[in-house]
């Protein structure tokens, strides 16, 4: 048994990602939040950095690394802009199913541009009826004249308005037992009858765009079908449960590190009764709690990512990480605000944004209640008295 540590290469990657985040992300993060816009120029540069296709093999234009390295990128970006971290992590959600289930032709067609930063991706599953009722999707794909015709509306879709390539699941029929058969399609920006709809005005994660995408008689040929017909449920589920939630955890690890660093900076600089408040025990308790939240979230997140890279089942571990990291980041952002007193609510300090971003992370990929259900199911399965 050896203790958990990153490889030298992973440390170098983190250093590179951190340098990028400090130079290109930190100075503008507040502005993106305020203006509610996704910085496509920086997103493109993340492609040059290798973040956009981090787990894509070299032959498709990626560096061929894994999900631990993905979490490193997302954490470092989210340390300064969880919103941009959200855009990046969602892009991966579009890339992942193409890599996993795409034909050789689809991989060669889409992956290089999605890795380089030339194009951005998204994943459209959730509908107005809810996201966790996965099989209850109402958008349809009908077979007509040898083509697929898609109709319906997807909502709460991150990257809705910026994605050049959207992977979407729709109902393409029912099986013998009357259950929905879902299939996945690759839909390119500008496909006839396909357009982003309403744009949401979010509480947090505002450097990512979230909104509707609408299919109105969108006609696609067979080449757009991703994976086998009826394979959309498995593909969508795996993406959300192993990649999406892992991404949310990594975002929150970044937020937690932000809280920790801001809290320490403030506690050392703020002088009260002639000495820094860092010397006051009540403040030290807060710092200890934030540290605990950060360390625990980090361990859960990278452990789950490590399982994914090792090819082991990890849905329960990812759900655990997501549940803990999102709730912990809300809690710690609140602690940091408490520690800062009046300064905590001033928007010149980033902590208010951290709290909004943390709260916004909870429903993405399934609320804390859903995470607990997933964890419980896994636990009841894994443990025997």
């Amino acid at each position: 048994m050896h203790f958990f540590e990153f490889t030298e290469e992973q440390n170098m990657l983190r250093k590179a990602a951190r340098e990028f985040a400090e130079t290109e992300v930190a100075p503008r993060a507040a502005e993106w939040d305020e203006r509610d816009e996704c910085p496509l120029d920086v997103f493109k540069k993340l492609g040059e950095l290798g973040a956009n296709g981090v787990f894509v093999p070299e032959k498709y234009g990626g560096p061929g690394l894994g999900h631990v390295e993905r979490a490193i990128f997302i954490e470092e970006i989210s340390r300064h802009s969880a919103g941009l971290g959200m855009a990046l992590m969602t892009h991966h959600l579009g890339v992942y199913p193409i890599l996993r289930s795409g034909s050789e032709e689809q991989k060669e067609k889409y992956l290089p541009d999605l890795c380089s930063g030339e194009r951005f991706a998204g994943l459209a599953i959730t509908e107005p009826g809810g996201g966790s009722d996965f099989m209850g999707q109402k958008a349809t794909g009908e077979r007509r004249d040898g083509k697929w015709v898609l109709n319906g509306r997807k909502c709460f879709i991150t990257n809705s308005h910026i994605a050049d390539v959207t992977v979407a699941t729709v109902k393409t029929g029912v099986d013998d037992k009357g259950r929905s058969k879902l299939s996945a399609f690759i839909v390119e920006k500008g496909a006839p009858g396909f357009a982003p709809g309403r744009k949401e005005h979010k509480l947090g994660l505002r450097a990512s765009v979230t909104g509707d995408v609408v299919f109105n008689e969108t006609t696609l040929d067979d080449k757009a079908l991703l994976g086998p017909e009826g394979g959309g449920a498995r593909l969508g589920m795996e993406g959300v449960s192993e990649v999406g939630r892992a991404g949310m955890s990594a975002i929150c690890v970044g937020i937690l590190r932000g809280c920790l660093e801001e809290a320490i900076k403030f506690a050392n600089e703020r002088i009260l009764y002639g000495k820094p408040i860092a010397k006051i025990q009540a403040i030290q308790f807060e710092i200890a709690k934030i540290r605990t939240d950060y360390e625990a979230a980090r361990l859960l997140t990278y452990y789950a990512a490590g399982l994914k890279d090792a090819g082991k089942p990890c849905a329960t571990e990812v759900a655990t990480a997501k549940y803990f990291a999102t709730e912990a980041s809300v809690r710690s952002a609140k602690s940091t605000m408490d520690l800062m007193g009046g300064y905590g609510i001033i928007n010149e300090y980033p902590v208010g944004r951290f709290l909004r971003d943390a709260l916004t992370s909870i429903p993405s990929g399934g609320t804390s209640h859903i995470m607990q259900v997933v964890m419980a199911n896994g636990t009841l399965n894994d443990f025997h008295a």
């Binding site: 030298e8 170098m12 590179a16 340098e19 950095l49 290798g50 560096p63 690394l65």
Partner: protein, 274 residues
């Protein structure tokens, strides 16, 4: 044109941690426990310049550092940024070097690379200065060991058909130059914006060589010019300067403070007509 370029790089203590630097009052040595090293910032500009010169053609870029073993870390960064090979000159015999001995050892290392490859370097880049010592002397002295033209504080470098147009900083302006390789250049931070290390670069660097050379790998070198023995400068006494002043506080309303400041300004006799 496929240029062959060498870049001298160095690890320096992170300036964000200078608050941790002190003096051991007994041993009279500098204590810097807990101060991490970083890639000397100007050396990254030097590497960027080298990579741009190399890239259009095939060319070759080697990074070299004379430093303790931890210098390998920044050489690995140099490889991940895009250098083709990296060389660490690391031996107790090189330790304690001042700029003259450092530039000599670098010259010997670079000469060895040249002889192994059978081709001389067209350009040798250094950062104009290091964040710690900031003596800014190594590039100029390296130029003399090679007997090549050298320029320091280069902030513009353009190729026009094999001829290079350069600009160096002056106090209130700049100087323009025309040069043909070989040359040794100390580059200013303004020359370029160094690229970020990419994940692809990190992966590619796995296969690139990082060679460590000790004293015995430089058989032609003269011990009289290496390390502490080869350093004409010696460190004498060190101290932390006491520059504290009284710090009389002016308080009151802003207008009262301003009135107080005005009387200090007048009393100083520095500002005419106030």
């Amino acid at each position: 044109m496929a240029y062959r370029v060498a870049v001298c790089v160095k690890p320096v203590p992170d300036p964000n941690y200078y608050g941790h630097v002190g003096i051991d009052p007994v041993k009279k040595t500098i204590t810097r426990a807990g101060v991490p090293n970083i890639f000397n910032p100007a050396d990254k500009n030097a590497l960027e310049a080298a990579l741009r010169l190399r890239e259009p053609g095939s060319g070759y870029a080697a990074a070299i550092s004379m430093s303790p073993p931890e210098g390998a870390e920044i050489l690995r960064e140099a490889l991940a940024m895009g250098a083709d090979e990296a060389y660490l000159l690391c031996d107790r015999a090189f330790a304690g070097a001042d700029t003259l001995a450092t530039s000599y050892a670098l010259c010997q290392g670079l000469r060895k690379i040249e002889s192994e490859k059978g081709l001389p370097f067209d350009f040798i880049f250094c950062g104009a200065e290091s964040a710690d010592g900031a003596t800014a002397q190594v590039s100029s002295q390296l130029g003399e060991w090679f007997g090549y033209p050298q320029l320091w504080n280069v902030f513009s470098l353009e190729e026009r058909g094999g001829v290079f147009m350069l600009k160096t900083k002056l106090e209130n302006g700049c100087m323009e130059w025309e040069a043909k390789p070989p040359m040794v250049l100390g580059v200013a931070r303004e020359l370029n914006k160094p690229r970020f290390i990419s994940a692809m670069g990190v992966v590619k660097s796995r296969k690139k060589p990082l060679v460590t050379w000790g004293r015995s790998d430089l058989p032609g070198a003269d011990d009289g010019y290496l390390g502490l023995a080869g350093s004409p400068t010696k460190a004498g006494d060190i101290f932390t300067p006491d520059i504290r002043r009284e710090g009389r506080r002016l308080s009151g309303s802003p207008d009262e403070i301003v009135a107080g400041m005005l009387s200090v300004i007048r009393a100083s006799g520095a500002a005419a007509g106030v």
